[in-house]
Symmetry: C2
Subunit: 344 residues, 2 copies
Amino acid sequence: MKTLCSVSTLARIFALSVLLALGQPAQAQTDPLPSWNDGPAKKAIVEFVQVTTTPGSTKFVPPAERIATFDQDGTLWVEHPMYSQVMYILESVPALVKAKPELAKVAPFSTVLEILKGDRAAIAKLTLPDLEKLAAATLTGMPVQTFEAEAKKWLAEAKDPRWKKPYTELTYLPMQEVLKYLRASGYKTWIVTGGGQDFVRQYSDKVYGIPPEQVIGTAGGTKYGYAKDGKPYLTKEPRLLLNDNNAGKPEGIHLMIGRRPTMAVGNSTGDQQMLEYTQAGDGARLAMLVLHDDARREYAYGPAQGLPATKVGAFTQALYDEAKKQGWTVISMKDDWKKIFTFE
Amino acid sequence: MKTLCSVSTLARIFALSVLLALGQPAQAQTDPLPSWNDGPAKKAIVEFVQVTTTPGSTKFVPPAERIATFDQDGTLWVEHPMYSQVMYILESVPALVKAKPELAKVAPFSTVLEILKGDRAAIAKLTLPDLEKLAAATLTGMPVQTFEAEAKKWLAEAKDPRWKKPYTELTYLPMQEVLKYLRASGYKTWIVTGGGQDFVRQYSDKVYGIPPEQVIGTAGGTKYGYAKDGKPYLTKEPRLLLNDNNAGKPEGIHLMIGRRPTMAVGNSTGDQQMLEYTQAGDGARLAMLVLHDDARREYAYGPAQGLPATKVGAFTQALYDEAKKQGWTVISMKDDWKKIFTFE
């Protein structure tokens, strides 16, 4: 009988079948950070994720320990000309004055009314104690649910002065890609912000994919009580529990997470301790700072711009030198980001 | 041609094949709570999980909102004759006195030394202010890492006075099954304890499958600083941020989670506000209390036993009446639990 196939032909058919079964040569991996230019920053992120998540790697990090913390203002979204939450505080003053008309002539409420009328120079009159007084007046004394509804309403309506968009659209697309890439690699992403915890929790899930329980911010106490119908509710109190700036960041991280981050990203002196604390751990750690050096597409403020530290926390020359000394990766918005905003 | 089968025979064979293809009558679903006797408590848990997780259910709870909070002492593990962390505090006094011998004659340290010598009556001498002083002395003033190592060491070596086992083995098997069942159903399980947050975080993952970031406890501030080699570290301060008992529980939940639980379990008056707060939400909510009514297998303390509230938080008659009024499920250890401890 004439055999259909010789052994060698069968062997070749078998081998070919195996190859076909194993599939095409691997497609080029989809770039998880398409808005990033090739460069040391992008490389640092991708390599960090790979070495910490590849089984057998000497720098493997067990999933439970994959914690990445992000400052928000100036790291995940725009913080100039002013923190959006400071705008919230200022824009909440008219309602306050409507309820208590005597405040209209009392500083700092009177100063704020001038600012809102267009007297931008009056901003310089506001001291830190003024801001604390305004924060206490506009962020505390009401039920939590009331605050949450007011914050949500303001966020839906307020527009930034430059691009005329809701603040929640001014997030940095390249950082959004980092958040998604980390989560897809088994990391938990946290926000660690000097901004108000209750405020940021109103949009963090929808805007960043970061749920309320993974937001650490400046936080005050609450007081438990009962409404007339017996239903319990919490009232925001002017009692500061955590000032989540500078050394407050590692303190807040210890309080709320109880683990040291493996990766931390910030942009100013207010993040220095968080980065130090992160890097002090064993094994692979990644610490990064976002440098605002792109006046055309965003804002330029940092040591190279020779701008003074005009707000709480800035990317000073000292911070830049510390970053170089400690091996923290500095991200240049100008060089590293192909696109900054989704809406460009 | 003689047909092998008539149409009716073929039909029967087809029908039989279909039945066989559909498989045997469904095996009884594996019982997720095998240590629970059938009864209203077990039923309440299973029904709650089913209605909140079955797509299409009118009481469906999206996975992100599936938060279940558990008191620890008396709910997840034994709390008699004394909270294990109080034992830790007392047993830490000798080391303190060794470092500062002058304390040996100073109350309450001298009282504790008497207690440890066997003078159990001396326990009654300790007031709440005494306990606070002892807590500050033994739980604060040291680096976080030092405290964590000391707590871990004590937990590994200490034995309870009745079963002579490590405290971490005195967890309630039926509650462990509830934790696992909830997590398998997409719930996140949290501990909300009056005990020290840093203390409980040393074993919560290994013992309960609850990671540090899902432990809320009584918590103090920390202070960031630098060691001689420049490495940063945190020191535990005697500055109370959160007293996680009574109204402190909803306050702690708001601070650390920022969501209302869908389910909460406690065992004493110290959990009342947490259960009220949980139940005040819309949709399906489950609030439960563990009643200690089994003197033979564990300890009996509660309204039916006529025992006075001898410790902070107890299952008083008032709490029992509140539970009935609010529709909270009372779990009877005697009737509902086939087995209490893994080691029985």
